[in-house]
C-alpha cells in the first residue's frame, strides 16, 4: 500500500513525492503542496477528517479523500 498524507500520525513529518495532478486540485498545488516540500500533520477533526496540516509553511485543512491522493515519504 502506498503511504499517503492520510496515513500520517499526529506530529509526523513527511516529504511529498511525485504527484498525479489530475486528482488533486490545482489550488492545493499552488498553496505549496508540491513534490519535495515538507508536510506535517498537526491535528485531525473527529473521525480523521478534515486533516489539519502544515505544508510548505502554510497551515491548511484538507479532507481525507484528497489526503489519500498525495503520496509521501515519512521522515
Amino acid at each position: 500500500m502506498k503511504t499517503t498524507i492520510a496515513s500520517l500520525k499526529k506530529g509526523q513529518k513527511a516529504i511529498i513525492q511525485e504527484i498525479t495532478t489530475d486528482r488533486i486540485p490545482l489550488k492545493l498545488l499552488e498553496m505549496g503542496c508540491l513534490p519535495g516540500n515538507q508536510v506535517e500533520l498537526l491535528l485531525t477533526a473527529p473521525f480523521q477528517c478534515p486533516m489539519y496540516l502544515t505544508i510548505n509553511d502554510s497551515h491548511l485543512a484538507i479532507r481525507k479523500e484528497v489526503a489519500e491522493q498525495i503520496e509521501v515519504r515519512i521522515l
Binding site: P50, D57, H59, A61
Partner: protein, 698 residues
C-alpha cells in the same frame, strides 16, 4: 485637477487586505455587487500627498490567478481586460509576513502581467516576535518592485504606501521570474503567433477553462487550432509553472529572509489543541453560540422595543396633528410601519455581524469550519454553512448575508435556500399564542411541560427540515461547481475594532438599502389591500356597525369598525376567497386573512387576528381568550382545537412568510428565480404538511 489613480488591492485571503483597505479609505468606501454576479465589490477613495486622490478597488481574496471560483474569476477578468474602467494603474499586492512564501506566488503572477506592482508586507509588527528579519533593499531588487512594510494594527507604513502609489509610474513593469520556460517549444510558438501579446496573458486565457469555466477565446485573439494540448497536459504544465515560481521564491527568500526558529512562539499550536479538540472544541463552540443567541435575543430586545415604540409614537403624532384621510393613513398605517419593519431588524443584524466579524478576524471561524465540516458534508454542505444556519435562529436576513464566505456557489445557494427553515425569532409570537391555546399546560416527569416540549420540538423540526432540504437540493441541483475543499487556518489575532465597526456598518447598510425597498413596497401594497374595499360596505362601515350595535361604547365601536372594515377590504375578500383552499387545513377565512397578511412577516399574524376579532389591545391574554371562544363555522366546536392548532404551527414552521428574507435572497442570488422557487416550494410544502396533520388529527 489631477486624474484619479486607479489602484487594485490584491492578495490572498487572511493577509489583512481588508485592514489595509480600511486604513487607506476609512469610511469613504462602499460595497456593492459586480454587475450580474454576487461577488462583493468594495471601492473607496484615498487621499494622497499633493492633493492627489486614488480610487481603491478591493478585489476578492485570491490565492492565484488560476480561477477556481467566481471570486477569483473577477480578479482575472479585470486584470486581463485593459479596457475595463477599473483596470488598475497600479496593483498593490498585500502579503503577510508569516505566509510570505505562498503570498509571493500570487505576486509573481501579477508581476508577469506587466503592470506596475507594489508589494505590501503586512503584519510587520509581528516580525520581531517571530524572529524574522528581511533584507528589504535586496528583496526589492530581486522582486523588481518597491515594498511597503505595513502594520495595520499599529497604523504603521501606510504613509510610505501612499507615497509609493503616487509615484507608481516609476515602478518597473518587467516580470521577475521566467515562469514559462518549462516548455520552450510550445511557448515560442505561441509567441510567434501572437507577437504583440504578453505571453503570460495568453497562457492565462488558454488555461482559464481548465480550472473554472469556458472563456470566449476568439475574442481574445486565440484561434481554436492552437489548442493542441489536452486538459491534463495543461494541468501538468500549470503544476510545472507553480514549481518554477516556488523555486524562484525559495531562492529569493533564502537570500533575503532570516528566521530565528527559537523565537517562533507556540501560541497557535496551544490554542489549536484546545479549540479544535474533539470534546473541548465543540463545548467551546456551543458556548460561544449560546452567548451569541443570548445577545441576539436579549440585548437586541431593548433597542428593538425602543424602535417599535418610536415608530408607533411617530404614527400617533402624525395622526393627531394631521387631518384624517387616505394620505395620512398611507403614512401612518403603510409607510411608517413599513419603515419600522426594516429598521427594527438593525439591532439583530448589527449584533450578529459584530460577533461574526470578531470570530472571523480572530481566526476562530476557520476552526469552526474545521470542526463541523464532516457533519455538514452528509447534507451537501460544508463546515462553512454552519454559521449561517445557526444565525437563522435569530433571523434569516443576516443569516443569508452570512453565506458570503462560502466560495462554492452550489453550497452557498443550498445554504441560502434552506436557511429560512430554521426557527427565526419572528415565529415565536405565533408559536407562543397557539401553543398556549391548544397544548395542555400539564407537566411531564415533574418539571417539563408539554408546552415547552412542543416549542423545543418546533425548533428541532426547523433544523431537521433545513438539513433534509439541503440533502434533497444537493441531489436535485445539477450545477457544475468544482469541488475543492482546502481551507487555510490563519494565525490567531486580536480583532481590530475599526475593521469590526466598518463591517457592521457596511452589512447593516447593505440590508437597509438592499431589502428595505422591497419590504417597504410590499408593506404599502398590503396597506392598500387592507384599507380599501371593492364594495360600499367598506366605506359605510361606521354607519353599518353603528346600526348593528346601537348601544355600543365609542371605544368598542372603533375596534368593531376596524374589524368590519378588514372583513370587507380587498384582503378580507381574498381571505374569504381562499377559505375553500385553507378549509382542509382546518382554517376559516379569518385565519386565512391572518396567513395572507403574514406573508410580509410572520409576527403580523397576531396583530391581524387582534384586529379581525376586534380585540382592542394586542395583549396576548385577551387575544387568546377571544381565539379560544371562536367556533368552527363548518364543524362546530372550538375553531382552535388541537388539530387546527398543530396544523397552524406546522404551517408557520415551514411556509415562506417573510418579505425581507425574499428580498435579501433576491439580492444575494442576483435573480428573482430563487426567491420565487423558495416561496412556492416552502409554502407548498407547508400546505401539504399542515393538511396531512389536520386530516389525521381531526
Amino acid at each position: 485637477m489631477a486624474k484619479q489613480i486607479k489602484v487594485s488591492l490584491i492578495g490572498n485571503p487572511n493577509t489583512g487586505k481588508t485592514s489595509v483597505f480600511n486604513l487607506l479609505t476609512g469610511l469613504n468606501q462602499q460595497v456593492g455587487n459586480y454587475p450580474g454576479i454576487t461577488v462583493e465589490k468594495k471601492e473607496g477613495i484615498c487621499k494622497l500627498p499633493r492633493g492627489i486622490k486614488a480610487h481603491i478597488l478591493d478585489l476578492p481574496g485570491t490565492y492565484s490567478l488560476n480561477a477556481s471560483s467566481l471570486d477569483e474569476n473577477v480578479v482575472i477578468e479585470l486584470l486581463l481586460n485593459k479596457k475595463d474602467k477599473d483596470f488598475p494603474d497600479v496593483a498593490v499586492v498585500v502579503s503577510d509576513i508569516e505566509n510570505i512564501k505562498r503570498n509571493l506566488l500570487l505576486y509573481t503572477q501579477i508581476k508577469d502581467l506587466e503592470i506596475p506592482v507594489i508589494l505590501v508586507i503586512n503584519m510587520a509588527d509581528r516580525m520581531e516576535k517571530k524572529g524574522i528579519s528581511l533584507n528589504i533593499p535586496l528583496l526589492e531588487e530581486k522582486l523588481r518592485t518597491k515594498i511597503a512594510l505595513v502594520s495595520a494594527r499599529k497604523n504603521q507604513g501606510i504613509d510610505k504606501l501612499k507615497k509609493l502609489i503616487v509615484s507608481y509610474n516609476t515602478l518597473p513593469t518587467s516580470p521577475c521570474v521566467d515562469a514559462l520556460t518549462f516548455e520552450p517549444e510550445y511557448f515560442d510558438r505561441l509567441k510567434r503567433i501572437f507577437p504583440n501579446q504578453s505571453i503570460y496573458k495568453l497562457w492565462l486565457v488558454i488555461t482559464q477553462d481548465v480550472n473554472f469555466r469556458k472563456v470566449e477565446k476568439n475574442s481574445k485573439g486565440i484561434t481554436p487550432d492552437f489548442e493542441i494540448k489536452t486538459e491534463s497536459e495543461l494541468k501538468r504544465l500549470q503544476q510545472k509553472e507553480a514549481i518554477k515560481r516556488y523555486q524562484f521564491i525559495n531562492n529569493t527568500l533564502k537570500e533575503t529572509m532570516v528566521v530565528d526558529q527559537n523565537k517562533a512562539t507556540g501560541v497557535r499550536a496551544k490554542l489549536d489543541r484546545i479549540l479544535t479538540h474533539g470534546v473541548w472544541g465543540y463545548l467551546i463552540f456551543f458556548s460561544i453560540l449560546l452567548l451569541i443567541f443570548q445577545a441576539i435575543y436579549d440585548w437586541s430586545s431593548y433597542p428593538m422595543d425602543l424602535i417599535d415604540q418610536g415608530f408607533a409614537g411617530l404614527s400617533e403624532v402624525i395622526q393627531v396633528n394631521l387631518p384624517d384621510g387616505p394620505f395620512v393613513s398611507l403614512i401612518t398605517d403603510g409607510i411608517i410601519p413599513g419603515l419600522g419593519g426594516i429598521v427594527i431588524f438593525i439591532p439583530q443584524i448589527a449584533i450578529l455581524f459584530m460577533f461574526i466579524s470578531i470570530l472571523e478576524e480572530s481566526g476562530y471561524m476557520s476552526r469552526v469550519v474545521f470542526l463541523m465540516d464532516r457533519l455538514m458534508r452528509k447534507f451537501g454542505l460544508s463546515g462553512k454553512s454552519v454559521v449561517p444556519l445557526i444565525s437563522g435562529t435569530a433571523c434569516a436576513i443576516p443569516a443569508v448575508m452570512a453565506t458570503r464566505n462560502i466560495e462554492n456557489w452550489k453550497e452557498r445557494l443550498i445554504t441560502i435556500l434552506v436557511v429560512p427553515f430554521t426557527t427565526c425569532s419572528a415565529r415565536l409570537p405565533v408559536y407562543l399564542i397557539i401553543i398556549a391555546l391548544v397544548i395542555p399546560d400539564t407537566k411531564v416527569a415533574g418539571f417539563l411541560s408539554y408546552q415547552s416540549l412542543t416549542l423545543m420540538l418546533l425548533y428541532i423540526i426547523g433544523f431537521v427540515t433545513a438539513l433534509g432540504g439541503a440533502w434533497l437540493l444537493n441531489r436535485m441541483l445539477k450545477m457544475k461547481s468544482k469541488h475543492y475543499f482546502v481551507i487555510e487556518m490563519p494565525g490567531y489575532k486580536v480583532p481590530l475594532f475599526k475593521n469590526v465597526f466598518i463591517n457592521v456598518i457596511e452589512k447593516t447598510k447593505a440590508f437597509i438599502f438592499g431589502a428595505g425597498k422591497i419590504i417597504l413596497a410590499i408593506s404599502i401594497i398590503l396597506w392598500g389591500l387592507a384599507s380599501f374595499g371593492p364594495t360600499q360596505n367598506f366605506n359605510k362601515a361606521e354607519t353599518i356597525v353603528a346600526e348593528q350595535y346601537p348601544n355600543i361604547s365609542s371605544e368598542n365601536l372603533e375596534t368593531k369598525v376596524a374589524s368590519y372594515k378588514l372583513e370587507h377590504s380587498f384582503i378580507g375578500y381574498a381571505g374569504k376567497a381562499i377559505e375553500p383552499i385553507v378549509a382542509p387545513l382546518g382554517y376559516d377565512w379569518k385565519i386565512g386573512i391572518g396567513i395572507l397578511s403574514s406573508f410580509v412577516a410572520r409576527e403580523v399574524f397576531v396583530g391581524t387576528l387582534a384586529t379581525i376579532y376586534s380585540v382592542g389591545s394586542e395583549e396576548e391574554a385577551t387575544i387568546k381568550d377571544r381565539m379560544a371562544a371562536e367556533i368552527n363555522p363548518v364543524l362546530g366546536g372550538p375553531l382552535f382545537n388541537f388539530a387546527t392548532g398543530i396544523s397552524l404551527l406546522l404551517f408557520y414552521a415551514f411556509a415562506m412568510q417573510c418579505a425581507s428574507t425574499l428580498a435579501i435572497v433576491k439580492k444575494e442570488t442576483n435573480s428573482w428565480k430563487w426567491p420565487v422557487i423558495q416561496l412556492f416550494f416552502m409554502s407548498g410544502f407547508a400546505y401539504i404538511v399542515a393538511l396531512i396533520a389536520y386530516q389525521f388529527l381531526k
